[in-house]
């Protein structure tokens, strides 16, 4: 499939297929290794990094203040009350965990489908997953009211003779999210071991050699180890795939098992998963575009990656659009007065603005991604990723807040207006997420070097030895 919008002699285009390359041509094992490891191993920390780190650190400080005050005063400082008992906290829980899903999709599902292009972006997409799950995990605990008793959620023998109640979706959530966090960390770390070994061998400082030496657990690149490592990677990918599909499904069950109009619907599991991947890819692009610019990684994170991510966003965006239409259709088709009112209230009630923002950000504007030219435009992609992230935030806001404000009984209707503590907590987690990400790109290899090497053309083992000029070797070819 030839591309017409780029000059034919563009080195980033593959002359055979006409597609954009995944890695720029002319790279060697050494050059890809150097390009990635230099970011970590340099003793000079760029000024821009410090600048961003400081801003993110301010966000962390804000989170600390917000959470401390929450511990002192209780959840009353947030806008949560009856009828909206699940305010921003749960909106943000669902939003963050959804963002995490793209990391697992890229690292696991695309690995199983042998999508080689994923290799440049999977490591930091996984890091994004972990930090997003960390942010997500904070909210249900902070929302408990007595967060210091959060461990009561886990089944353990105790003097109260009390055990958790496993018929509740909230209990399922505990296991889904904790499993997801654990497996994501394990997958991420195992995938990083060979690269940590590279850093260990290339580090010049004693601290670097020692730290990366400990972290790389003595990896020496034995092919026996590589075979087991590859098996473990495939298995972990195979396990992470049903896991990631189950996590957001289980979260959606928190809603759909309830009887509230707007929540009680069977479309939720698939539509939540698609939405999660949608927002996750948007976040991948939000992070990847500044990073590749700042660290000059255009050779490794190429237009092909942006284009492919955009295509995934377009596809999942259409699934999400189908979910929205299905909700509207079912509201009419069910002939249920409550469902019908719920949809009318979403569109034209006092919070109708949030529904139309959601439709604009998630369905209308992303249709521009049909254009190949725009999909390959870096600035446009960046802006679009921010728009989609906003849209997905509003999706969760509409589902949670708008549905809760007006349920069956008009006498129990209410309204919702987030407080400054709600906003501070949210902004604080954004800061925390970026803070972790800055540390990650400074101290860990953000692009998997061992997988990049595997993608270079010279990595393939040739069937016959190439003719050479030296003395002939007996039995060299078998």
């Amino acid at each position: 499939m030839a591309t017409k919008d780029a000059p034919v002699n563009n080195p980033m285009l593959d002359p055979v297929t006409g597609e954009y390359r995944v890695i720029a041509p002319g790279h060697t094992f050494k050059s890809v290794t150097e390009e990635v490891s230099r970011i970590v191993l340099t003793s000079h920390t760029p000024l821009g990094w410090w600048f961003g780190f400081l801003i993110a650190g301010t966000g962390v400080g804000m989170l600390m203040v917000a959470v401390t005050y929450l511990f002192v005063k209780g959840v009353g400082i947030w806008a949560v009350t009856i009828p909206v008992a699940w305010g921003f906290a749960i909106v943000e829980f669902v939003w963050w965990i959804g963002i995490g899903h793209a990391g697992t999709l890229i690292s696991a599902i695309l690995l199983l489908f042998k999508q080689g292009w994923r290799n440049s972006i999977n490591r930091f997409a996984e890091a994004m997953t972990i930090f997003a799950v960390m942010c997500a995990g904070m909210f249900p605990v902070l929302h408990l009211g007595r967060p210091w008793l959060g461990y009561w959620l886990f089944p353990y023998p105790n003097t109260m003779n009390y055990w958790p109640q496993f018929r509740s979706p909230l209990m399922w959530d505990v296991f889904a999210v904790s499993t997801y966090a654990t497996i994501s960390v394990v997958f991420w770390y195992i995938g990083m071991i060979p690269d940590l070994a590279t850093l260990r061998d290339r580090a010049t400082s004693k601290i670097g050699q020692f730290t990366y030496g400990i972290l790389s657990v003595g990896w020496r690149g034995s092919v026996r180890h590589w075979v087991r490592y590859e098996t473990a990677s495939i298995l972990l990918a195979g396990l992470a795939t049903p896991l990631v599909l189950s996590v957001h499904s289980v979260i959606s069950l928190d809603f759909s098992v309830a009887l509230l109009p707007g929540w009680h619907t069977t479309i939720f599991p698939p539509y939540f998963v698609a939405g999660a991947i949608y927002s996750g890819f948007a976040m991948v692009l939000t992070l990847a575009i500044p990073i590749r610019k700042f660290y000059h990684l255009e050779d490794l994170i190429t237009i092909r990656h942006l284009d492919n991510c955009n295509k995934v966003m377009l596809a999942t965006g259409l699934i999400v659009a189908y979910g929205y239409s299905s909700e509207v259709f079912m509201a009419w088709y069910s002939a249920s007065h409550w469902e019908y009112f719920m949809m009318w209230n979403r569109m034209f009630g006092p919070m109708g603005w949030s529904y139309w923002t959601l439709i604009t950000c998630n369905i209308a504007l992303p249709q521009l991604l049909w254009s190949r030219r725009l999909r390959r435009n870096v600035l446009f992609t960046f802006i679009m990723s921010l728009i989609i992230n906003t849209g997905m935030y509003f999706e969760r806001f509409v589902i949670i807040v708008t549905s809760l404000t007006r349920d069956y009984l008009p006498s129990s209707w209410g309204t919702y207006r987030a407080t400054k503590w709600d906003y501070m907590t949210f902004a604080g987690t954004l800061g925390f997420f970026t803070f972790c990400f800055f540390l990650f790109i400074r101290f860990l290899p953000m692009i998997p070097m061992s997988e990049l090497r595997l993608m270079l053309p010279q990595a393939k083992v040739k069937a016959k030895p190439e003719p050479f000029s030296g003395t002939p070797v007996p039995e060299a070819g078998d």
Binding site: N161, Y162, F175, T182, P194, G221, V223, R224, R228, L235
Partner: protein, 180 residues
């Protein structure tokens, strides 16, 4: 147990995976069995060449998964039926469909943990010391762009002179001795 001393093996360095695989095949054909290849990325052909065909990671993973499944499903059943029976909206104590979700998650959790840490354990990792790092050129390239074949001295066929001339016939970049 006293630490072993003397020669661990002979290590040949190659520039490409192709050279390495051909040398490894030749070594296997020549009768060497205790040897290993070291590569900066996964070269499955090299593992095949030195006669390493099966790994037990899948089995460990399966065992972990079954244990996780049984543990969580059993725990839920025990809690809901015997330890702490609660009447939740008239549902039966043994309401198995609700137990599926945590049991499913724990199957994945424990098979994943078993696959990851089982893989490391089967590799004998973590390890704080290994003789191959004593080779002067090893750390310079084994995790970047060089390929190594190490014939180990514990091989019954191993004789230092013969092994050296064998390796040198494979057109390596260099052949070095590796001490314990």
């Amino acid at each position: 147990m006293p630490l072993p001393e003397g020669l661990y093996g002979l290590m040949a360095e190659f520039d490409s995976a192709t050279d390495l695989v051909h040398a490894a095949k030749a070594a296997y054909k020549a009768g060497y069995r205790r040897m290993d290849c070291y590569t900066p990325y996964a070269v499955e052909e090299a593992a095949e060449a030195i006669g390493f065909h099966r790994d037990e990671v899948s089995l460990v993973c399966l065992i972990g998964g079954v244990l996780g499944l049984v543990a969580m499903y059993g725990l839920e059943t025990w809690i809901a039926v015997w330890a702490f029976p609660l009447n939740i909206a008239g549902r039966p104590y043994y309401s198995w469909p609700a137990f599926v979700v945590p049991a499913y998650e724990w199957t994945i959790l424990w098979s994943g943990i078993a696959a990851a840490f089982g893989m490391l354990a089967l590799c004998g990792l973590p390890k704080t010391y290994h003789p191959v790092f004593n080779a002067p050129n090893f750390r310079n390239g084994a995790t970047t762009d060089k390929f190594f074949l190490c014939l180990e001295s514990t091989d019954p066929k191993f004789a230092a002179e013969e092994a050296r001339s064998f390796l040198e016939a494979q057109s390596p970049v260099s052949v070095v001795e590796v001490e314990y």
